[in-house]
């Protein structure tokens, strides 16, 4: 930029020289944006004079200039424009959206800094990248957009957002979630489903040490700072309406399943038992012709999504406000699953005339109801709809002879309840009748005020409250087939109601004093110092009950818990009622200082130091100190890069520490672990009251500490046509929480302790290339790539080989967290059809024992991840596509395990690959003989046969939009509108992978795919209107 300016100066001087007789004149004009909307409040400055103005409400300006003056038009969110005054008296300017790097403002939640003067490794995602997402949770839209941020999709369940990992795994307990700060208020990941992605202004993902250290006590897993849209000062009334409609289809399974005929032949010729065993060819043909069921069609449907947004914003000189409503309704691809959401936000901001006092009040209220598919993610085909949909036997008919949907498929439910439960019918019945529902009410309030009480000194205060009510309401309908399992047999009343109401409340206050001054002979020094205190307190109350034996009327009310005693006609409570109530409190207190120094936008340093105390620890472990230092050098400001193709080049280095105290992964788990406690329970010996040792206190528990070093380069070349960022980091987490094995003589086999050190080393890059850009055409491509290597550095209490044995979850020094520890199968013995393994010494064997497991060098969590995309616009049309990819990731494919498992042989389904099962001596095949004796055949820990490469490349999103701007709307169509945008888009259109089964992305608990809610493909159309 500097070189540009210099050039302009030279030109300007030249021009001034040429027109030394130039006269002062009044220049007027209008500034509009791409869409033809006038832009109010655009700053217009004359470069070599201390003069300038702003545009008014209608985007109009007038300014006294001389010919040859160079004017700079700047406006937040738009690319700066430079124009030289010629002979004209009227100058109309069109500004394009987009930011040059030195205008971009990044927010850490505590500070706002321009990108140019930032020392921090932060990735920013702006609203264009998030809006119009079809997903309920805005997180999913970030997939593949932020280098180093992995967003898995543990479930396609509407409203779920999946596992989030930032710069690798830094914990043994699987807690990888960063913290989320929405407009200054901390909240959890699940709460994001109540946030409308179209209301988001930007998301800052804090990765590097100097950013996360500001969050000392919470920053260890990274921080995601979400800012919602606000009004602007001096803004005319803006009404935005958006509407979207979409439909979704299940992705196809990457494995061929048997049809009815194949299944029956398999029974007869391969298995030698089950349905087809005793049938001859004609009987098989007849049965297969009559019934060939694809159970998927019974469980899955075309999902639909509708979204309606309304946002109204307005601003006067000293007051601005924004109000938004959103309604979102998604029906999932599994029947009777979905989410409905209503959200509301109101934000008011104001300032004093002298701009020294500011305040903000922000209230968000939202309600969502999620219908969850029962038992999804449970590895049991006899209860999980997502599994039985593929694993239901094809020769079973979903219909009764009369053509209606069957209840039990002809099985007498009174006589053989068990047979019904081991059939697709019971699950079909579950999905239809039994409810797993979550209601979530969230109220978030934030009040902020600051006052510059003395020049350069500003005092600020924040008060935040976040209240949620999460009600889980599960009902087993008494008329459902599953009902008899859910009750007390004595009562002869079936079904159950299980209700849990959890109400977390977070209260935070923050107070700070800020000193900000620019000084020196040429104003070359800028110093910014903040002192903070911060107080957090979390309360959670929960209440719940379980009751078994329901009346089938009025299931949603307690009237269902009554039953009519026929003798006297009186209502009596069902005697079985189990009540639950609990209360937890946790808290933190911190004080800290942040310092930033800038020299002429050439050099900068920043530092932070904070002291944190947590209620989870006692004595000297209670308090911990976290700090960071960082520096930058803006090389483009140096002489040697003047006039070169380098517009922007910045080198950043930072080092810092942060901490984690959430042993159990959330605010309310694993409290009070430092003292020994007992519990009282009511079902001790012969239904008596019992007192039992509960927690064995560990007084030595302390903070997990994260130390991170980051070095990065930001650059912009050839008029910023090429922009990019590179980062290398080395992150080390010490004193990791881990259940450490203790002798069973303690009455337990594990206690929580601080053990172990893990390191994450990685590289992240981002690149954007604007290939072509003129008034009509814009073509750009972008991509990012991240590599992370995880390594356990130190593992006390491990054995002589540096291993903590825990079966397939064993941990080893020098190994990665999530590395698969498996037995190695090498094929099938042609002489007997048994699986051949390598034992731990590499000898071929048919017996595979626990001891033969080895570290596989295959990771559960991807080492390589990223995304790329291209945007092409022509006039009002924009076509954009986004790809995401991961590599170096392996998952135990339970889908294939089941489909190639002998255990599935009876009433379930197999894939056609089972016809390759070994049958004859000498046969060379990859699937062992049926009834091979070793149980290891289906045990993932013992057998790597189903450990598959889950790398994939997926076309995440393609969208095509057309925008009609104001000029066309008002002048040609005579509509009172600023803009209309119409778009169509598709999600998950293409996937390239070698992974079999349903979805390589499906990342369940522990990183394996275990019958999760599958991902789906969505097509949607939408409309955005600005009035």
């Amino acid at each position: 930029m500097k070189s540009n300016l210099t050039l302009i100066f030279v030109v300007a001087l030249f021009l001034i020289g040429q027109s030394s007789f130039a006269q002062k004149k009044e220049l007027t004009g209008t500034v509009i944006d791409d869409d033809g909307t006038p832009l109010p409040g655009v700053n217009i400055t004359i470069t070599d004079k201390k003069a300038g103005t702003q545009t008014d409400f209608d985007g109009k300006f007038s300014l006294e200039v001389e010919e040859g003056d160079v004017l700079i038009f700047s406006y937040v969110g738009y690319t700066e424009i430079t124009k030289t005054v010629g002979e004209e008296d009227v100058m109309d300017v069109t500004m394009k959206e987009g930011e040059s790097l030195d205008q971009v403002s990044i927010s850490t939640g505590y500070q706002n800094i321009t990108e140019r003067t930032s020392t921090k490794a932060v990735s920013k995602v702006s609203s264009e990248d998030i809006q119009n997402s079809t997903e309920a949770s805005p997180l999913r839209a970030l997939q593949g957009k932020v280098p180093g941020l992995f967003i898995g999709s543990s479930s396609g369940q509407p409203g779920e957002s999946g596992r989030v990992i930032l710069r690798g795994i830094g914990s043994f307990n699987g807690a990888t979630n960063p913290i989320y700060i929405i407009d200054g208020v901390e909240t959890g990941q699940a709460a994001l489903r109540n946030l409308n992605s179209d209301d988001i202004e930007d998301i800052n993902v804090l990765k590097g040490p100097s950013a996360t250290a500001q969050y000392g006590n919470r920053g260890a897993n990274g921080v995601i700072v979400i800012k919602t849209k606000s009004g602007e000062y001096n803004e005319k009334l803006d009404i935005h309406y958006g509407s979207q409609y979409g439909f979704s289809k299940m992705l196809p399974i990457n494995k061929e399943l048997m049809n009815s005929k194949e299944r029956l032949i398999y029974h007869r010729d391969y298995l030698g038992s089950a349905k087809g065993f005793a049938l001859n060819d004609a009987e098989i043909d007849a049965l297969a012709r009559a019934t060939d069921t694809r159970w998927r069609n019974q469980f899955f449907q075309t999902g639909t999504t509708t979204k309606q947004n309304l946002r109204i914003s307005q601003g006067s000189e000293n007051l601005k406000s924004s109000t938004a409503f959103n309604f979102y309704d998604q029906d999932g691809v599994i029947k009777n699953s979905g989410i409905k959401r209503f959200s509301f936000q109101n934000k008011v901001e104001g300032k004093s005339d002298d701009d020294r006092f500011h305040y903000k009040s922000d209230i968000k209220a939202s309600y969502s109801r999620t219908d969850i598919t029962p038992q999804v993610g449970v590895h049991d085909a006899w209860s999980n709809p997502a599994l039985i949909a593929y694993q239901g036997a094809p020769y079973l008919s979903p219909y009764d002879p009369d053509g209606s949907v069957t209840k039990t498929g002809g099985i007498d439910e009174q006589k053989s309840m068990f047979l019904v439960w081991q059939s697709p019918y019971a699950i079909l019945n579950d999905v239809k009748l039994n409810q797993v529902q979550q209601d979530r009410i969230q109220l978030m309030a934030n009040f902020h005020a600051d006052w510059e009480f003395v020049k350069h000194f500003t005092a600020g205060v924040d008060v935040n409250a976040n209240y949620q009510s999460i009600i889980d309401d599960n009902i087993i309908d008494p008329s459902s087939l599953r009902a008899p399992t859910e009750t007390n047999d004595d009562l002869n009343h079936y079904g159950s109601a299980n209700n849990n109401d959890r109400r977390p409340f977070r209260f935070e206050t923050k107070a700070n004093i800020n000193y900000n001054n620019t000084f020196g002979d040429e104003n070359e020094h800028t110093l910014n110092v903040d002192l903070f205190t911060e107080y957090h307190k979390n309360y959670q109350n929960s209440f719940g009950f379980f009751t078994g034996g329901l009346n089938d009327r009025l299931l949603e009310t307690d009237q269902a818990y009554l039953y009519d005693t026929k003798e006297n006609g009186e209502y009596v409570y069902v005697p079985y009622l189990d009540l639950r109530k609990s209360e937890q409190i946790s808290g933190m207190f911190s004080y800290f200082a942040l310092v930033d120094y800038d020299y002429n936008e050439r050099f900068g340093f920043s530092g932070s130091i904070r002291r944190d105390a947590s209620s989870r620890f006692k004595g000297s472990n209670k308090w911990a100190t976290f700090w960071s230092v960082a520096g930058r050098w803006n090389l483009d400001a140096e002489d040697f890069l003047e006039d070169s193709f380098v517009d922007n080049l910045k080198l950043r280095i930072s080092y810092g520490t942060s901490g984690n105290q959430k042993i159990g992964g959330n605010d309310f788990s694993a409290l009070d672990l430092y003292k020994s406690t007992y519990s009282i329970y009511s079902d001790a010996y012969i239904n008596s009251t019992g007192i039992s040792p509960d927690v064995i206190g560990n007084g030595d528990l302390k903070w997990e500490t994260n130390k991170q070093f980051d070095i990065g380069i930001d650059f912009g070349l050839w008029q910023n046509k090429i922009q990019g960022k590179l980062d290398f980091y080395h992150k080390k987490t010490l004193n990791l929480y881990k259940g450490r094995p203790v002798s069973p003589v303690f009455g337990t086999s594990e206690v929580d302790d601080n053990i172990g050190t893990v390191a994450n080393k990685g590289f992240e890059s981002y690149l954007k290339y604007i290939i072509f850009d003129n008034d009509e055409w814009t073509i750009s491509v972008n991509g990012n790539f991240a590599y992370n290597r995880n390594k356990i550095k130190d593992l006390p209490s491990s054995d002589e080989n540096g291993v903590i044995e825990n079966g397939g979850g064993s941990l080893g020094e020098g190994r990665a967290i999530g590395e698969h520890v498996v037995g190695r199968q090498i094929g099938v013995n042609p002489s007997d059809g048994n699986t051949l393994y390598l034992d731990k010494d590499g000898n071929v064997t048919e017996k595979n024992e626990n001891d033969d497991r080895v570290f596989s060098n295959k990771q559960r969590f991807p080492e390589i991840k990223g995304g790329f995309g291209a945007d092409i616009s022509y006039k009002g049309f924009t076509l954009s596509q986004k790809w995401v990819y991961t590599a170096n990731v392996y998952r135990n494919n339970y889908d294939v395990t089941d489909l190639e498992s002998e255990g599935n042989s009876g009433g379930l389904q197999n894939s056609t690959s089972m016809f390759r099962s070994w049958q004859d001596v000498g046969q060379i095949t990859d699937i062992p003989r049926i009834s091979t004796p070793n149980q290891a055949q289906v045990d993932h820990d013992l057998n790597d046969r189903f450990l598959q490469d889950a790398s994939y490349l997926r076309l995440r999103n393609v969208s095509l939009s057309y925008t009609l701007n104001e000029e066309k709307l008002k002048h040609h169509l005579h509509l009172p509108l600023h803009s209309i945008k119409l778009y169509v888009q598709g999600d998950n259109l293409l996937t390239f992978t070698e992974y079999e089964g349903r979805d390589p992305e499906s990342d369940g608990l522990g990183g394996d795919s275990v019958g999760n809610y599958p991902s789906f493909r969505t097509f949607s159309v939408g409309l955005d209107v600005n009035f």
Binding site: Y535, Q584, P744, S749
Partner: protein, 488 residues
């Protein structure tokens, strides 16, 4: 200006710092620390209730039934306990004995600690509470002794050589997580158990005779068992004899009712099962005691062949073939036989739930008979067994025993133990204890053995797997010091 700044800074920081404690010193609501957990005798009783609750016999049921010769694969089983049935025995084998017994011992020590710290005043109420507390403490000592003995039975290197390795002896509440227990000698454990049982006898009230709890009689029965293992034959005989004075042998009808939880005749201690407890029949049936109840294991042909139809134990052990949901007997050693186990037929508490009759007069009579035979009192042993059979055959049509020699007597006693105590946690230990005297190991019927594709039908007399169980992985994970048993 400076003053203004100072005042503001002062106000900000001081106001927040003062409230800091309230954010970081938090007592969780409902947090029960040791000082308030046990306040009086009633609380001790609650602690004891928890100790009883943790004492289950499923681990013993599993190893004795699955590993020995009383079971074959049921028609609905796929891979359940396949490895253990195939005699794959290692530190990760699913045998819940070590961890649960040490849990019981640990919980016992917690309550005993509280008991020792408790003081009662001299008032009549105080004294009454004292005796209540003593009665609880006596049961706790008995429980600790029984648990140590259970561990000894499965993990000790020997029952008679007191210098051999036993198991860790735990008599205190631990707080140092680095503690790695080592195995005490067999003799040390016996001494420890003896002392605990003596204490128990002194503390438990004479009139406390509820057979759902450990009474003085239960302690005697435990001592009889211990002396049998110790091969103190005379003492075992005396103790068993003494108990048989008070506890009659159940008649055929009563015996049947005992296993339906409808009679208490001859039951010295039963571990009562209510809803939510471990179900003894769950090893054999996933859902219900029925042909369609998902049969995991059924009776081995070997045991079936040893049963006499006129013996009431035939009815108790085998689900009636005439029941449409009952056994299917196709022929002797027919691979298609479905010999459904009826010993735990379920009760009003639940379809798979039955009380575990841990100590019975039947076992005492068998202890007496064995002790007699071992002491070469063959006639007395014949008499004892005849007495048992008299109570097991409705029509007295059993073959009257009149053993020729010790080995013949022991052979029959082992068979009677098998019939009387099947699936109650004895068979593996019995074969082990009788292996020297009768020169036997585990020998399965070939049809039974093939039911689960077992490679190996038999286990030889001197096999390491018959000598002791492996110390489980949970202990090895945390303990470098502990010595694994030979062969594992």
């Amino acid at each position: 200006m400076v003053i203004k700044i100072k005042i503001l800074a002062f106000l900000l920081f001081v106001s927040l710092l003062t409230s800091c404690d309230n954010a970081t010193d938090i007592d969780q609501p409902g947090s029960l620390t040791s000082d308030v957990a046990f306040r009086n005798a009633e609380d001790l009783q609650d602690g004891l209730n928890d100790v009883y609750n943790g004492y289950n016999v499923d681990g013993e049921e599993i190893i004795n039934a699955v590993f020995a010769d009383n079971l074959k694969k049921g028609h609905a089983a796929t891979v359940e306990y396949k490895d253990l049935y195939n005699h794959v025995l290692n530190s990760t084998s699913p045998i819940p004995i070590w961890d649960p017994r040490y849990l019981t011992i640990d919980h016992t020590n917690h309550v005993l600690n509280a008991y020792k710290d408790m003081e009662f005043d001299d008032t009549p109420e105080g004294q009454e509470e004292q005796s209540e507390a003593d009665n609880v403490a006596g049961q706790l000592y008995a429980m600790r002794a029984l648990s140590h003995f259970d561990l000894l039975k499965y993990y000790a290197e020997s029952y008679t050589d007191t210098t051999k390795l036993g198991v860790p002896k735990m008599d205190e509440v631990l707080d140092n997580f680095d503690f790695q227990p080592t195995r005490a000698s067999v003799g040390e454990i016996y001494n420890f158990i003896d002392k605990d049982l003596d204490k128990a006898k002194n503390l438990i009230q004479d009139d406390f005779n509820d057979n759902r709890y450990l009474t003085k009689d239960a302690i005697r029965a435990i001592q009889a068992r211990i002396n049998l293992f110790k091969e103190n034959w005379g003492k075992a005989e005396d103790l068993a004899d003494e108990l048989l004075q008070t506890y009659p042998i159940a008649s055929p009808e009563e015996y049947e009712n005992v296993y339906k939880d409808e009679s208490d005749v001859g039951v010295i201690w039963k571990r009562v099962a209510v809803q939510g407890d471990v179900a003894l029949a769950a090893l054999f049936y996933a859902n219900s005691v029925n042909f369609d109840g998902h049969v995991i294991f059924d009776m081995s042909n070997d045991l079936f062949n040893a049963l006499d139809e006129n013996d009431i134990r035939y009815n108790v052990l085998l689900k009636d073939p005439n029941d449409p949901q009952g056994s299917e007997i196709l022929g002797k050693n027919d691979p298609g036989n479905n010999l459904l186990i009826n010993k735990f037929p379920g009760s009003s508490e639940g379809p798979l739930l039955n009380d575990a009759k841990v100590l019975t007069s039947g076992e005492m009579l068998l202890i007496k008979a064995e002790a007699e035979a071992r002491q070469d009192k063959v006639d007395k042993a014949s008499k004892s067994i005849n007495k048992l059979l008299e109570h097991r055959y409705t029509d007295d049509d059993y073959e009257t025993r009149n053993y020729d020699d010790k080995s013949g007597a022991l052979k029959d006693i082992l068979k009677q133990r098998r019939l009387e105590l099947a699936y109650e946690g004895h068979r593996y230990l019995d074969i082990k204890r009788f292996s020297d005297a009768l020169n036997i190991g585990i020998q399965r019927n070939a049809v039974d053995c093939q039911s689960y594709d077992a490679d190996e039908c038999n286990i030889a007399k001197d096999d390491y797997r018959l000598n002791a169980l492996p110390i489980p992985q949970s202990e090895l994970n945390a303990n470098d010091e502990i010595q694994q048993n030979e062969g594992y």
